[in-house]
Amino acid sequence: MAKATILVVEDEFITGADIQNNLRETGYDVPFVVDNGEDAITKAGEMHPDLVLMDITLIGEMTGIAAAAQIRDRYGIPVIFLSAHSDDTTITRALESEPFGYVIKPFESRDLKIRIEIALYKHAMDEALRERESTINALLNTIPDALVLLDHEKKIVAVNETMARQLQKSREALKGLDIADLPLANTGTLQQIDDVYVQGRPVHGEEKRGDRWYEVSMFPMTDTNGRITRIAIQSHDITGRKHFEEQLKNEGVGQIEQNMEQFQTLNDQIRNPLQAILGYLQLGDPAYFPKIIHHVQEIDNLVVRLDKGWVQSEKVRSFLFRHYRHGAGIVPDPDGTKGEAD
């Protein structure tokens, strides 16, 4: 691992040089010592040290505490304060700016090294945590589904942006709220959450909120002991699909009704010539043969017309297939013995 770089801010030249030497001997890279807050901020921006060792009392207007706050806010660099002060108010003020440590002069170089190492480690951990959080947030917010994480009291632990938008509140404002108080939960939902806790299995269902439809999935989340401590609820917007299904259903039903009507007419158009054929036949006179042939042709023509007309029954087929899982030629023959579907 590369040497950690440390910026030293100290208004007393001799002390500064002393610390610089000290730290170099301990194994850190200490390229500069500056003596005022403004320079400290500038240098921190230029060199991006791993850590700043900051005297509270500095030359100029700016105190070490103010400079440390800016360095932390602008560059996210951890700061350890150095001070001869040991009175409470100074320490409290310094801690308010969230420093990684506070060292009272004079100090042992071994103590300082420990403080620096702790600060560097803590900073690395915080960075890793922030990194992980932002990754999780990025993941949560990338998917268009609404997500909410509940604790065992059905209180919100976290939500993603989509969920927050749906509820018209900020993600922060939603934290800790009871799910029962939010418009996304009906009694059925609350019961399902209980079921997931009890049974430990995910559940899936569809539900309508306002004028939109959602596919809702609930997943139990366990702690290291295997106990369910949280439940993640994912709501996938299926309004479009529902509308499509509804439309398909209406169109399919409409088309079927139309076909039924056609069929009733057909009934007559086929059976009337059949009746004529049967009648002429039974009259038993060959003189009627041309008439019989005429009525046979009538039925034949009808079948030709039908063959053309029923092509538009595609809608019916897709409707039947979707809702009843059958439709001409769509389902393959399981053992392949019947050959091609006709």
């Binding site: 009934n267 086929i270 059976r271 010539p273 009746q275 004529a276 049967l278 009648g279 039974q282 009525h295």
Partner: protein, 204 residues
């Protein structure tokens, strides 16, 4: 000589039936629609009307209603004749108005038997009615009884044609049968036929 009126919009059917029924000894009138049928009924009193259903502009059911709502023609026996299976509603509404329902295509011999049987049956019923009236039974009760009897017999026959018998069908029959029994209790047996077993409709 008995008279049959054929109402059908298919010329070939009118031709075949006319030829056949004339050969079988009937006097036949064949017309192409409901309007023509009603017009002809002003001058002709057939023993049976064979009525097609799917016709334009008036269909068979409308024509039937017109026949049955006119006091001059309401007593004429009507037999429906169609390619179409009637709906339950149609049977509920018209079951008591018709003697039989025959499906196209029908063999001429079967048609002939049905016609003969309906005409004969109507005669029997007519005699029974007269006998009941003479015995002092109420005219309305008599006609209600025979209406139910016709209706029940017809539904039982047609139920087999319904693709799926429903619970409602059984109920429909049961209700009408109960009413029928009720009406029968109120009839005084006539001299001609003390047991009212007549009125059966002979199917195809």
């Amino acid at each position: 000589m008995e008279t049959v009126m054929i109402v059908d919009d298919t010329p070939a059917i009118r031709e075949v039936f006319t030829l056949f029924l004339k050969r079988s000894g009937y006097l036949v009138h064949a017309v192409m629609g409901g309007r023509e049928c009603l017009e002809l009924l002003k001058t002709v009193q057939p023993d049976l009307i064979l009525l097609d259903i799917m016709m334009e502009p008036e269909d068979g059911w409308e024509t039937l209603d017109a026949i049955k709502s006119n006091p001059a023609t309401r007593q004429l026996p009507v037999m429906m004749f169609s390619a179409k299976t009637p709906t339950r509603t149609e049977i509920r509404e018209h079951g008591s108005q018709i003697e039989d329902y025959i499906f196209k295509p029908v063999e001429l011999a079967v048609l002939s038997r049905s016609i003969a049987s309906v005409i004969e049956n109507c005669r029997v019923v007519q005699r029974e009615k007269e006998s009941l009236i003479q015995a002092g039974s109420d005219r309305d009760t008599i006609s209600e009884y025979y209406n139910r009897l016709r209706s029940v017999t017809l539904i039982k026959k047609l139920m087999q044609r319904f693709r799926d018998a429903e619970k409602g069908d059984e109920d429909m029959i049961r209700v009408q049968e109960e009413q029928m029994v009720q009406f029968r209790k109120n009839l005084r047996p006539g001299t001609d036929r003390p047991q009212l077993s007549g009125g059966e409709i002979h199917g195809q």
